[in-house]
């Protein structure tokens, strides 16, 4: 469904078969763990069995003596980083923390924390050797609860962390270390006056558990440190250039000495940006003189990579009885994990982002606990706060007896509205997504049956621009080879190729896209922030324009006319007196007119305008078991312009189902010692195809004026609404309001029984 006038495109909006498709359905596509090099060794990692302990000593001598072991490394093999903050493209990192996360230095801060690694002739020898490493620990009490971690009595994880209050001077180094790494405060208007105008005020506390991105492919890295000092890294990653920089910084070598070759990647969702294995494999390679491959186990992926935080939130909203929001207040604490860096900043910016809120106050805290260092996960921080705000909105709607879709339309963020954290929206499509749901067959259809209910909720994500580069070479047969640096997790190389094809007036099949390594393509920031189709797309369009300019010069030479008399349109060149050369014809003449034509394009200035989605869900609750069944699901999202509608739908469907898993089942389940007791897929249990119905999608198109074709990033928004939409549906079904994620059977059953008694 298009809600805005759509220009007519030839390629954009069609559904070609993806260029990497044949390789992926035949098993030929090479992922990180498929790399095999001559003389390659296999590595294994020793990980901490404790959540919080001092390392008193490490003895690797027995491991080193085992036949078939070629190298052993500990943090003593990695350079000291000191107090360095390094900008890594999508945020800055404290290098001391980054290196201590890669291999523990002096202390282990979570179960699964890497301590040492071994490279051996095969994986079995490496795993045997790991068991021969002796580590002496001095156990410390684990800090597992975010609120307890904030108290003055709590044990402190890091002796170099003092609260950084955003916008204030840094805390003195003489002050006492704390677990509260960051403090955010945003204010707008006058909240006391705002709440004074409210006829209805609701205030609730919410908790959410740590959850994992759950990509099916474990982290991996194969590294060869050559005798000339050049280091090559083969791995699956969301950002080759980010891995290059992180690896170089961690090893203290020049970035030009590190080449990152991205393989196909088996999912990321934000979790494959930070570096864990490459510096370790690099040191093992340097010591052994051989290429070394490291692959994580599934349990290590859960215990020792970067899930998204658990949280505690207190949110308060006030509205007038005619349905106008007047004030909102939020207090949000996120588990950073072992080191600072949770998405508390974005969470504070997103909590009221869907609405035109005249008065607001948002306070947020980034808190260290003895759990893995958290990382980005699809719209980082936004799903947590959407669960809180969007359930409160429905509670207000019930109290003042107004339809929740109408309330959202009336209070929706739109062009010119200022968010609590400051920025003013450009043209955005929040209203349109709610209208799309309100007008959907699903929302209008009656829902019958016992213990069945319907809920809606909205969600927001910024989407970013950042930097991208692409080059494109014209082939003599009239096709184009496109080289770009954004690793492709879900079909993006085809989306980018389609934009190049549209700009040149050729077909998608006439473009062959390749994702290049860091020595063959210009700098590209990570595949994240829903930025690739937008920004790398712009770079490809710029490369197409560069090709057009060069072809115009060639045609002018062939026709012996001034270049100003030649133009490029409709897939060909037009000159004086009806002269015409199609793209294919001029491509065939390049060898005789000066050789190769290579177009280059970059994107660095463009930023996105933000994207919204609204979801509607029907559930049935088994009141004896507390189990929720999803009966029907519809997701509407503003995608600006859908380049390849099938993959846009796929992003929405996949995000919605991840959100369903987060809503109903997924959680890091810790015992009192800080051990995650469900660190396998069977026990953590992401949704299977038997758990969910078809996910209907409504593509709303409000073009983003900052992209030539109006693209808005699509990947992240769809995970935000599901937990709140499902909570609202559960209330509609059985009359209990859930404030704790996941809304798993035991928790829901407890609430149902509480209500019945």
């Amino acid at each position: 469904m298009a809600t805005a006038d759509k220009p007519k495109y030839k390629v954009i909006g069609t559904r070609p078969v993806r260029h990497d498709g044949a390789d992926k359905v035949t098993g030929r596509a090479k992922y990180g763990a498929d790399i095999k090099l001559t003389g390659m060794l296999y590595g294994a990692t020793l990980r901490s069995p404790h959540a919080h302990a001092k390392i008193k000593s490490i003895d690797t001598s027995k491991a080193e003596a085992l036949a078939g072991v070629r190298a052993v490394v500990t943090s003593a093999d990695l350079p000291e980083q000191g107090d360095r903050i390094v900008e890594l493209g999508e945020g800055a990192a404290n290098m001391r923390h980054l290196t201590a996360n890669v291999l523990a230095r002096g202390k282990v801060l979570y179960k699964g924390h890497a301590i040492a690694a071994v490279a051996a002739d095969n994986i079995h020898i490496a795993e045997e050797a790991i068991k021969l490493i002796k580590v002496e620990y001095e156990l410390l009490p684990p800090v597992l609860d975010v609120r307890k971690a904030m108290s003055a009595e709590s044990p402190v994880l890091n002796d170099d962390i003092r609260t950084e209050s955003v916008g204030s001077a840094p805390a003195s180094k003489d002050s006492k270390p704390t677990n509260i790494a960051k403090h955010f405060l945003f204010e707008k208007g006058d909240i006391a006056a705002g709440f004074a105008k409210a006829d209805v005020i609701v205030e609730r506390e919410f908790d959410t558990s740590m959850v994992h991105q759950g990509y099916i492919e474990p982290h991996n890295a194969t590294v060869f440190w050559n005798t000339d000092g050049k280091i090559t890294v083969w791995l699956s990653t969301q950002g080759s250039f980010s891995v290059r920089q992180q690896t170089a910084e961690l090893l203290k070598v020049a970035i030009s000495n590190v080449k990152v070759v991205p393989t196909e990647i088996g999912g990321g969702f934000g979790g494959k940006i930070s570096v864990y294995l490459p510096p370790v494999a690099a040191m093992l390679s340097k010591k052994s003189g051989r290429p070394v491959k490291l692959v994580m186990s599934r349990t290590s992926v859960f215990e020792a990579t970067g899930p998204t935080p658990g949280s505690h939130m207190k949110v308060k909203l006030g509205a007038t009885k005619d349905g106008k929001l007047v004030a909102g207040e939020a207090w949000i604490a996120f588990e950073a994990g072992a080191y600072t860096g949770s998405p508390i900043g974005p969470a504070c910016m997103c909590v009221f982002a869907c609405y035109d809120l005249p008065n607001g106050r948002v306070e947020g805290f980034d808190v260290c606990v003895n759990k893995p260092r958290t990382n980005a996960y699809r719209a980082p921080g936004s799903t947590h706060v959407a669960f809180a705000t969007e359930t409160l909105i429905n509670e207000i709607c019930e109290k003042i007896d107004i339809d929740p879709a109408d309330f959202r339309i009336k209070n929706a963020a739109k062009e010119g509205v200022r968010r609590v954290d400051g920025p003013v929206y450009a043209r955005v499509g929040m209203v349109e997504t709610v209208e799309a749901i309100k007008n959907s067959e699903h929302y209008k259809a009656p829902l019958e049956g016992k213990h069945r209910g319907r809920g809606i909720a909205s969600g927001f994500w910024f989407n970013c621009g950042l930097k991208s580069a692409a080059s494109a070479t014209v082939n003599p047969d009239g096709t184009v080879s496109l080289l770009e640096g954004s690793t492709d997790i879900g079909g993006s190389r085809t989306g980018i190729a389609m934009q190049l094809a549209e700009a040149l007036g050729i077909t998608a099949e006439e473009v062959t896209p390749t994702v290049g390594d860091t020595d063959s393509v210009g700098y590209c920031d990570v595949t994240g922030g829903s930025r690739v189709t937008f920004a790398t797309g712009i770079a490809a369009i710029e490369a197409a324009k560069d090709i057009q300019r060069q072809l115009i010069a060639r045609a002018a030479m062939i026709w012996d006319v001034d270049a100003s008399k030649v133009s490029y349109s409709d897939g060909g060149l037009h000159g004086p007196a009806g002269k015409h050369l199609s793209f294919k014809e001029i491509a065939a003449k390049l060898h005789g007119t000066g050789g190769a034509v290579i177009g280059r394009g970059t994107s660095s200035e463009a930023t996105q305008g933000g994207a919204f989605g609204t979801h509607c869900v029907d559930v049935e609750v088994d009141v004896d078991l507390g189990k929720v069944q999803i009966l029907r699901y519809t997701a509407a999202q503003d995608c600006g312009t859908a380049i390849h509608p099938s993959y846009v739908e796929g992003q929405i469907q996949g995000g919605a189902v991840q959100g369903i898993g987060w809503a109903l089942n997924e959680e890091y389940w810790y015992d009192e010692k800080g051990e995650m007791r469900n660190a396998t897929y069977l026990d953590y249990r992401i949704p299977t195809c038997y758990d969910v119905p078809m996910i209907d999608t409504i593509i709303v198109e409000v073009p983003d004026p900052q992209h030539p074709y109006g693209v808005r990033g699509v990947g992240e928004v769809p995970i935000c609404p599901p937990p709140a939409a499902i909570a609202n549906a559960i209330y509609d079904a059985v009359g209990v309001r859930m404030h704790d994620l996941p809304m798993s059977p035991p928790k829901l059953l407890a609430e149902i029984l509480k209500k019945e008694s």
Binding site: K24, G27, A33, I216, T688
Partner: protein, 162 residues
């Protein structure tokens, strides 16, 4: 570890002998000893289905089978699904229906679907969801996978009735 064994397997119609340790899984031997890397490793404990292969026609998670247990077995892996350069109905339905995003689970899904359609050529949506519930996909939300399986079943039915 001593005591290596020679195991004889028939993989996608070709008989092969492989020297392996008793502790090596069929998955490890396929991927590391024989370079059949189309079969993927996602969890190593039978939870995710990415390493599904057909063993004497039956789908198994190859991470839970020791290579020595497969002695004499007839195996079909993702590399043996296409006929020469022609994709089969399941593979083309996955491509045309955009039933993959990152693609790491795709080989397992395709092999499991081959087993489903061999057993039940005309499965309902519920049949499909039940049969594929041991294969995890984190990208697609399963919608387009289920539709691709439906499309492949239909295409195969039509091909048979002609």
């Amino acid at each position: 570890m001593s005591g290596k064994r020679v195991v004889t397997l028939t993989i996608n119609g070709d008989q092969t002998e492989v020297l392996c340790e008793p502790r090596q899984t069929l998955l490890e031997v396929l991927r590391n000893n024989l370079d059949f890397t189309g079969t993927k490793e996602g969890c190593s404990n039978g939870n995710c289905g990415a390493c599904t292969v057909l063993m004497d026609g039956r789908p198994v998670v190859s991470c839970l089978v020791l290579a020595v247990e497969a002695e004499g077995a007839e195996l079909r892996t993702i590399e043996g699904v296409a006929c020469g350069s022609h994709l089969d109905e399941v593979q083309s339905a996955f491509l045309e229906g955009a039933a993959l995003q990152c693609g790491i689970c795709t080989p397992g899904f395709i092999v499991q679907t081959e087993a489903l359609l061999a057993e039940n050529p005309n499965p309902s949506e519920d049949d499909i969801r039940f049969y594929l519930a041991g294969n995890l996909c984190r990208c697609t939300g399963y919608d387009k996978i289920v539709r691709a399986v439906q499309a492949a079943a239909e295409k195969r039915q039509v091909a048979r009735s002609v």
